[in-house]
């Protein structure tokens, strides 16, 4: 029998070398679709194990993923994925990555195992290995018992799992997951998030997770890129953020008549170097710089005739980072 296999997947760099290469590098990335600018001047270097892409609907998360996959042409700037240029090395990028699309996507008339097997073969696995891995990965995502059933007949949760299976079947180094928990019930969602964490932690795989659900990103990711209207609103290393010993307070303010507090209070805090984000119901999130104490807040409150009705110490959650980015 002629062995068609000529190249090995081991050509991939060693994990230690790979860890030093940024997962995604964007330099002034611009993408226009139908003449309309969708992504505008994106600059970011993302190095995390699991990177969250956050943003409201229409912010450009999926467009960014599609651009990194080479589906959309780059109209300005550059993008690199694990050191490979998206413009010139698209095929190389696609050979080491897996992609789980946001929408329903499957090949009609195929059983789960045949579907995943075909996808693995298209990624370059020889037939025998593709069969073996298709079975394994379907068990891994929890479709072991349903693997001989047609994909068309799967429930929404099962189809999400099948999409994840096809993204993992060829053993990629990097996985793009676009809204992986869309439409899942709480149990299925928890299972999906557990799988994502497991892939990242145990499987030595980088993950880019696009979602508009903050909790999903917070539970899985160690780095976040927040997009807003096609621009980078903020990039944030969640791990570092969690570790940082910052004075993060949540205040509830009123004036002496019980109405809205004087905006001068906020300005005075900002003058001290504090970071401020206004929330609903007269709540204010404040990050105090080093050297500024809580007693300084009370002093300014007295000066501005503002009542501090509640003061909580709070860690900087992803929600706060996101809200701050959206306000900015």
């Amino acid at each position: 029998m002629v062995n068609l296999a000529t190249k090995t997947a081991l050509e991939a760099p060693a994990p230690a070398a790979e860890a030093s290469v940024p997962v995604v590098e964007l330099q002034g990335l611009e993408v226009k679709l139908g003449g309309r600018p969708i992504l505008q001047g994106l600059n970011a270097t993302l190095t995390g194990r699991c990177i969250g892409l956050l943003g409201p609907n229409g912010a450009g998360k999926t467009t960014l993923l599609h651009t990194l996959l080479g589906f959309y042409p780059i109209s300005g700037g550059s993008a690199r994925v694990l050191g490979k240029d998206v413009k010139t090395e698209t095929r190389a990028i696609r050979s080491f990555m897996g992609y789980m699309p946001e929408n329903d996507a499957f090949i009609q008339g195929m059983s789960g195992v045949r579907f995943v097997r075909q996808m693995a073969e298209l990624a370059g696995l020889p037939k025998a290995q593709a069969i073996e891995r298709a079975h394994e990965v379907l068990f891994y995502v929890g479709l072991g018992e349903a693997r001989y059933r047609p994909v068309d007949g799967y429930s929404l949760g099962m189809r999400q799992a099948a999409k994840l299976a096809q993204a993992l079947a060829h053993g990629p180094r990097l996985v793009f997951l676009d809204e992986p928990t869309n439409g899942l019930d709480p149990v299925a969602r928890e299972r999906m998030l557990r799988l994502i964490r497991d892939i990242t932690e145990a499987g030595n795989v980088r993950v880019i997770l696009s979602s508009h659900l903050l909790r999903d990103v917070e539970e899985c990711c160690d780095e976040v890129l927040v997009l807003k209207a096609g621009k980078v609103a903020v990039t944030c290393n969640l791990e570092a953020e969690r570790r940082a010993n910052r004075n993060f307070l949540e205040l509830e303010l009123r004036n002496e008549q019980g109405g809205s507090a004087d905006p001068g209070f906020n300005q005075a805090l900002e003058a001290l170097g504090a970071e401020i984000a206004s929330g609903a119901r007269q709540r204010l999130k404040v990050v105090l710089p080093d050297g500024v104490k809580v007693r300084d807040l009370y002093r300014i409150a007295v000066e501005r005739k503002v009542q501090i009705r509640r003061l909580d110490y709070k860690r900087d959650s992803l929600e706060d980072i996101f809200l701050k980015a959206m306000e900015g």
Binding site: F71, D104, A123, G171, G203
Partner: protein
């Protein structure tokens, strides 16, 4: 990753060469296509004409068989000579069957992938749009070859072996079989893929393919009648390929029956380019909505 282990591991084995991967598509497509009994029966029927041709050639060179059947050899050579009209008729019959095969298989090739967002899955792998089209086209090209130029060439070689002096005089017939059938199956495959990609829905794609083939014949005739011209024929693939076959096999036809070969070639090439353009527009991982 072991099934019992249930944890993820990377693949670190060998990979197949990239050039061979487009052949994965026909392999999977045939598993589905040959599950249909209707298709299997039809595919078997497609070999009846070549088999009859084989018998005919055999009879031409077997005097004992002819005497057993009580057929005078001169009569057989006079009424059914093995020459250009024999191979032209064979090509014509198999060409018609080729369209039916495309009608049965073609619409299911691209439309379901577009409908179910399957293209994003294919194209997110190291697998280009060209390879996708090539893979899907080869599903049809391999099947069509099996019923058109392959049996045609086998009959041609069989006749050449039995009558070596015949080969020298009819070498151009071999070329006509290859070029005539090749052009037809290439055009049919492109048309089927383009219609399948354009319509996105399998049953509608099948209807569109039928309409494009049969209605265009009527339309061509009506146009010629109304405008007293011949160029209406150029709107019908069947008349166009008929003209190309007739010119390749050297069959004389009047200007009223078929378009001129030059115009027919131009129409076929133009139609193929149009199909390629449509495919280049439709075969994308995601559509850009303007």
């Amino acid at each position: 990753m072991a099934v019992y282990g249930r944890n993820y591991r990377r693949y670190a084995g060998e990979l197949t060469p990239p050039w061979s991967r487009f052949l994965i598509l026909p392999r999977y497509a045939y598993e589905t296509v040959f599950q249909s009994k209707l298709f299997l029966i039809f595919f078997a029927v497609c070999f009846l004409v070549p088999f009859a041709g084989l018998l005919m050639i055999y009879l031409h060179h077997n005097l004992s068989a002819l005497s057993f059947l009580n057929i005078p050899p001169e009569e057989l050579k006079k009424f059914l000579p093995i020459g250009k009209s024999f191979f032209f008729r064979g090509t014509w019959l198999q060409g018609g069957l080729a369209f039916i095969l495309v009608f049965l298989v073609g619409p299911a090739l691209v439309a379901p992938d577009l409908r179910n967002n399957g293209l994003a899955l294919y194209l997110s792998r190291p697998f280009s749009r060209t390879e996708y089209v090539l893979g899907k086209m080869s599903v049809l090209l391999i099947l069509l070859s099996a019923i058109t130029w392959v049996p045609g060439m086998l009959l041609f070689l069989f006749q050449s072996i039995l009558e070596p002096s015949w080969l020298g005089k009819n070498l151009d017939l071999g070329l006509a079989i290859l070029v005539g059938n090749g052009a037809w199956i290439l055009f049919l495959s492109l048309m089927a893929l383009a219609v399948s990609a354009l319509v996105k829905w399998k049953p509608v794609a099948r209807i569109a393919l039928g309409v494009l083939f049969f209605v265009s014949i009527g339309f061509a005739n009506a146009l010629n009648e109304i405008l007293s011209t011949w160029w209406g024929y150029l709107f019908s693939a069947w008349y166009v390929i008929g003209s190309i076959w007739a010119s390749l096999f050297g069959i004389p036809v009047s200007a009223d029956e078929l378009p001129p070969p030059g115009a027919a070639w131009a129409a076929l090439i133009g139609g193929s380019l149009l199909c390629l353009w449509l495919l280049s527009r439709r075969i994308r991982a995601y559509e850009v909505v303007r």
